[in-house]
């Protein structure tokens, strides 16, 4: 796709313009760390932000979302749709790639997840490359960063002379067209710096963790029970890893009634929960904590790839850093990957 550029001082103009036409969501610092939220003041945006504590998944798959309302005596079912156009600006390539994995899973025919599709359709995803990856990151393993991801419409990369902007989709090109006066074609010098940057960052990350991905498919057999049992001992069964993960998509539903209607909500679930596969009859194909932990890792590294043709991990490092018990997916990758 075509490479454009935008001058550093024009970024704020761009953001302001965007926020007039769309709901602009971008990371800014609050209580000591960065979070995505509606950006009201473009000055709050910091180009050098460290990635957000929680993933932007919630803008596409909220923690709790209405599926339908059913009015008992009127005989129809009501579905709520949200139609406003959203721009997610400054998302890191790993998180953007997570969206493409979600696309693979949730928009996989014949049944498309209409609730997700609706939000996804109305969103423009603009990523900002990682030029200084954090210590927890390992996006190089799944080629989901640090410069380019797979789910974004536009990719911004910060260089010394402004931002290199790559339009990745038609939607991205349309945005550039809309704000044409702010963008121009990237020049050779800039592209050189850009390419150099890619090499440098990849080299740095590659030295941290190198994985032979072809072996991941067999991880389920290779890892063996002992490894999972060892980690299961320390796992405290919170759902932090799943909630923080940018692509943990499993959901739970809940039905109840309100003043005049029956409602169903759906929202995040976690496979670490002992109830995840437990049936009403009491039967549970996954009884032990080790089984569940095994599923969590294998699901990401082999089961999603086998089923949906994409890795279930983008290497953002959130679960690694946030796990209270220090369970580390990189250990799996390093040992058997």
């Amino acid at each position: 796709m075509k490479m454009f550029s935008i001058r550093e001082e024009n970024l704020k103009v761009f953001l302001r313009e965007l926020s007039l036409k769309h709901v602009l969501i971008a990371p800014f610092k609050r209580d000591g760390y960065f979070e995505f939220d509606v950006l009201r003041n473009p000055d709050d945006f910091n180009v050098n932000y460290t990635n957000t504590r929680l993933s932007p998944k919630r803008f596409f798959m909220p923690q709790r979302q209405l599926v339908f309302k059913h009015y008992p005596r009127k005989g129809f079912t009501e579905e709520l749709k949200e139609n406003s156009s959203v721009v997610l600006f400054g998302i890191r390539p790993c998180d953007a790639s997570a969206l493409s994995v979600l696309d693979n899973v949730l928009l996989n025919p014949p049944h498309k997840d209409a609730l997700y599709e609706n939000r996804r359709k109305n969103a423009i995803v603009v990523s900002l490359s990682c030029t200084k990856p954090m210590t927890e990151c390992f996006c190089n393993v799944f080629e989901t960063g640090p410069i380019r991801g797979t789910g974004e419409d536009l990719t911004f990369t910060h260089t010394s002379k402004g931002f290199v902007v790559e339009a990745r989709t038609q939607k991205g090109i349309a945005v550039i067209g809309e704000f044409g006066e702010l963008f121009r074609e990237a020049d050779g010098e800039m592209l050189n710096e850009y390419n150099k940057l890619i090499r440098e960052v990849l080299d740095e990350m590659g030295s941290r963790l190198k994985v032979d991905k072809t072996r991941l498919i067999g991880i389920e057999k290779e890892a063996g029970e002992e490894f999972f049992q060892l980690n299961a001992q320390r796992c405290i069964e919170c759902s932090l890893c799943s909630f923080a993960c940018p692509l943990c998509y499993c959901f739970e539903t809940e039905d109840y009634w309100e003043k005049d209607s029956y409602v169903r909500f759906r929202g995040w679930d976690t496979c670490i929960s002992p109830l995840f596969t437990k049936m009403a009859s009491g039967l549970d194909p996954r009884v032990t904590k080790a089984d569940r932990l095994c599923h969590r890792f294998c699901h990401k590294l082999s089961r999603i790839p086998l089923t949906f043709n994409a890795y279930g991990c983008v290497g953002c490092g959130r679960c690694v850093s946030l796990c209270p018990a220090g369970i580390d997916i990189r250990e799996v990758l390093r040992k058997w990957g």
Binding site: F68, E79, N83, S84, A280
Partner: protein, 289 residues
């Protein structure tokens, strides 16, 4: 934070609109409720909210305000209504057990892969069921009987814990009249039970079928399936022709919610009917081996 303004989009619940959001059940009325066994009821709902399905497929049944759960369809595709045999287990099934004709429930489906009807043409067929596990086999059996001349011999081995827990007892005679070799067994006899006593594997050798070519369909509790599969192989039925219907927790029925993702299979899409060798690839706990 108010991200967006919700706009309301109302559906009359028509079939064409259901395509928009796969998660919206269609409201249907309960027509009949029948006590099948002390803990199981068969509900009939109608009119059928979808046209065609393959025996062995399931539907998601919603009790509004309580929840949704997957149930095997237990009426044949030719029927204008739908039937589900439901055992009292959790909140949804308890609510269904409290229901009476005229109550409204939601249904969506049909989902999953049913029994391999195509494979069965002109072959002998053995159905092996255990307890409530006969529910997905009943539509198959009734479908086979409706098209009796297209298939070979049909044998049914059905076991339950006690005679009163055998489902569809009032239909046994009719099945036999139509040429089904019916073998029954119970774990514990009671009352005037004169039939076989023992687990279902003890009667698997009774049907005389062309074993190499017979299609075997089985469903029941996981332990039963495990031993039935073992016995079938011992009896020299071909692994190629053995199918079983497995169960799992499900939330969406369409491969999105992740609850039934075992190994590389979704029970809701790739199942619930699995072939013998497919079952072997499932991870421990889910695999009957």
């Amino acid at each position: 934070m108010r991200l967006t303004m919700p706009s309301r989009n109302r559906h009359k619940g028509g079939v064409e609109e259901m395509g928009l959001n796969p998660y919206i059940p269609k409201p249907v009325k309960i027509i009949r409720v029948k006590d099948e066994t002390p803990d199981t009821k068969t509900i009939t709902i109608g009119p059928k909210p979808f046209d065609e399905f393959t025996p062995g497929q399931f539907a998601m049944v919603t009790v509004y305000g309580v929840g949704e759960a997957p149930f095997s369809i237990c009426s044949p595709p030719s029927d204008n209504n739908l039937q589900f045999s439901i055992r009292k287990m959790g909140s949804v099934t308890t609510a269904i057990h409290e229901a009476s004709p005229g109550d409204e429930i939601g249904v969506r489906g049909p989902y999953g892969r049913g029994w391999p009807l195509g494979e069965m043409r002109n072959r002998d067929i053995l159905l092996v069921g255990g307890g409530i596990g006969f529910a997905p086999l009943r539509p198959l059996l009734l479908h086979l009987l409706e098209n009796r001349n297209k298939y070979g011999r049909i044998a049914v081995c059905y076991g339950a814990r006690s005679p009163s827990l055998l489902m569809y007892r009032d239909e046994f005679e009719e099945w036999m009249k139509q040429g089904v070799d019916l073998y029954l067994t119970v774990d514990v006899g009671e009352g005037d039970w004169k039939g076989n006593v023992g687990v279902v594997t003890t009667i698997l050798d009774k049907p005389s079928l062309n074993k190499a070519e017979t299609i075997v369909c089985t469903c029941g509790p996981p332990v039963m399936i495990k031993f039935v599969l073992k016995k079938l192989v011992e009896l020299e039925y071909s692994k190629e022709n053995i199918y079983a219907s497995l169960e799992s927790k499900m939330r969406c029925g369409v491969g999105k919610c992740g609850h039934c993702h075992f190994g590389s299979k979704h029970v809701c899409i790739d199942g619930p009917v699995f072939k013998y060798d497919e079952m072997a690839t499932l991870p421990k706990g889910m695999s009957p081996f």
